[in-house]
């Protein structure tokens, strides 16, 4: 975990809240759409705070092996607080 990490809420492009446990079609929480602007802002601020504090683990193969190794190295540096 790095104390220097800081994510701005504006850097969050999409927030999909909750797990969603339907097995046949993908779902999205919709009540957040109708809440007051201040509540929506608070949701994104809370997510930004969580992003700044959790340890990072990189997954996926889209970038190929060498890039994945680089991504893993990035993650290790992030965990060590040395981005």
């Amino acid at each position: 975990m790095s104390e220097e990490r800081r994510i701005e809420p504006e850097q969050i492009l999409v927030a999909r809240v909750g797990h969603g446990a339907n097995c046949s079609s993908i779902g999205s929480v919709v009540d957040t759409l109708f809440v007051a602007a201040a509540v929506g802002t608070a949701v994104f601020a809370a997510l930004a705070a969580a992003l700044a504090t959790e340890d990072v683990r990189v997954v996926g193969e889209r970038a190929g092996d060498s890039a994945q190794e680089a991504a893993d190295a990035d993650a290790r540096r992030a965990r060590q607080g040395d981005p």
Binding site: L13, A15, G20, N22, C23, S24, G60, A63, A71
Partner: protein, 389 residues
């Protein structure tokens, strides 16, 4: 948190709170991920799904009239080994969430093992069940799942009007037992012409039983529902146009304290095109993660025969689930579904919410119009066809 690079930044699955977020490249760099040596993956082809719906059995004794998989008591069941190989592929692809379903998945004895196997691979497992016959002991064995949704279309006659039998009491007992076992419980509510107008009552009842979420599902013409009866059961055009105001009212009535949430499924998003307040600020839909058809893209299904499909309602591709990580980008059928979303015809092309809706439900279009085209029940499409838009 679990991070997956994308050309525009990264998908991130948070672990301290139940959320998946997309962050831009600056946000990813702020996490210490600089994307060196091509990690952003430009030119690497389409991204793998973030959510996969995994059918683990076609067995089910409920006999719901509209079952999209045509599940039966003697239906096919997938082997544990095959499921584990598919979970390996999901891990390799960087999938975040796997939703176990069927059929009735609780007919299997190894669900707790499979949930643990998903978690060992860094994938969040969730489950859908009818809840019929779910004992307290059985409910407790489902604790490995992050959330369990029970099919519950409403109390008493409302449930029966959707499924064709009186199973509401059994579903209600299951909701209570799962909540008592300390689990996050949601309900799946299928919207038909008969159930739509009773939504407020259904959600209040579900919440009183311990559910924390209701996912509203559009009735779709697949499996046993792919019949002429579909035309009488689907939402009326007036109900489709009323979805936006109805959701607004439900949010005010049931969600104000933040302890209960309402979801809509991908196929309901096109109905929001009739809501002026939503179409005036379409970017808000995407920012809150409210998307329509993501079949073949962010979503993929794996059937009990092992074949991959764009979604659970769609015909399968050649690709097999255990080859998902290496074959998702190049599969022809999945590619055609993604290509349609990228460049849909009118009236979708000029629709204000196109980027979120992604062209409506292609399964409905294929059944009603016989083509992979605009959603024929979307209010905007109906207006376009009548010459009003």
């Amino acid at each position: 948190m679990i991070v997956r690079y994308e050309p525009w930044g990264a998908w991130v699955k948070l672990e301290s709170t139940a959320a998946v977020v997309a962050i831009d490249r600056d946000g990813a760099r702020a996490l210490g991920l600089d994307g060196s040596r091509g990690a952003w993956g430009e030119g690497a082809g389409p991204s793998a799904p973030i959510e996969v719906h995994l059918a683990v059995t076609e067995r089910c004794g409920a006999g719901c009239e509209g079952c999209y998989i045509d599940a039966r008591p003697d239906g096919r069941e997938k082997s544990s080994d095959a499921i584990l190989r598919e979970l390996d592929a999901l891990r390799d692809a960087g999938v975040f969430t796997v939703a176990f379903g069927g059929g009735e998945p609780t007919t299997r004895d190894d669900l707790d093992v499979l949930a643990a196997a998903a978690r060992e691979r860094g994938i969040t497992p969730v489950l859908t069940t009818s809840g019929l016959g779910l004992s307290e002991a059985r409910a407790a064995r489902l604790r490995g799942f992050a959330q369990v949704n029970v099919s519950y279309d409403g109390p008493g006659a409302t449930y029966a009007s959707v499924r064709g039998f009186d199973g509401a009491d059994a579903a209600e007992r299951a909701i209570e037992r799962l909540a008592f076992a300390g689990m996050r419980v949601g309900v799946n509510v299928v919207l038909t012409r008969a159930s739509f107008d009773r939504l407020g009552h259904t959600l209040a009842r579900a919440r009183s039983l311990g559910a924390c979420e209701a996912q509203l599902l559009r009735y779709k013409p697949a499996g046993r529902a792919a019949s002429l009866d579909y035309l009488a059961r689907r939402l009326s055009p007036e109900q489709a146009r009323a979805l936006g105001p109805t959701l607004r009212s439900l949010a005010e009535s049931h969600c104000a304290d933040g302890a209960f949430h309402v979801r809509i499924d991908c196929a309901l998003v096109p109905f929001l095109s009739a809501d002026d307040a939503i179409t005036r600020d379409p970017a808000r839909l995407a920012r809150f993660g409210i998307f329509g058809c993501e079949a073949g893209g962010a979503l993929t299904a794996v059937r009990t025969d092992g074949r991959v499909a764009p979604c659970s309602f769609a015909a399968p591709a050649e690709l097999r689930g255990e080859d998902l990580a290496t074959g998702h980008a190049d599969d022809g059928m999945l590619g055609r579904w993604r290509a349609y979303v990228a460049a849909p015809p009118e009236p979708c092309a000029s629709c204000a919410i196109r980027s979120a809706c992604k062209g409506g439900c292609k399964v409905v279009a294929a059944f009603v119009d016989g083509v992979h085209g605009p959603d024929p029940e979307c209010p905007r499409v109906l207006a376009h066809r009548s010459g009003a838009a």
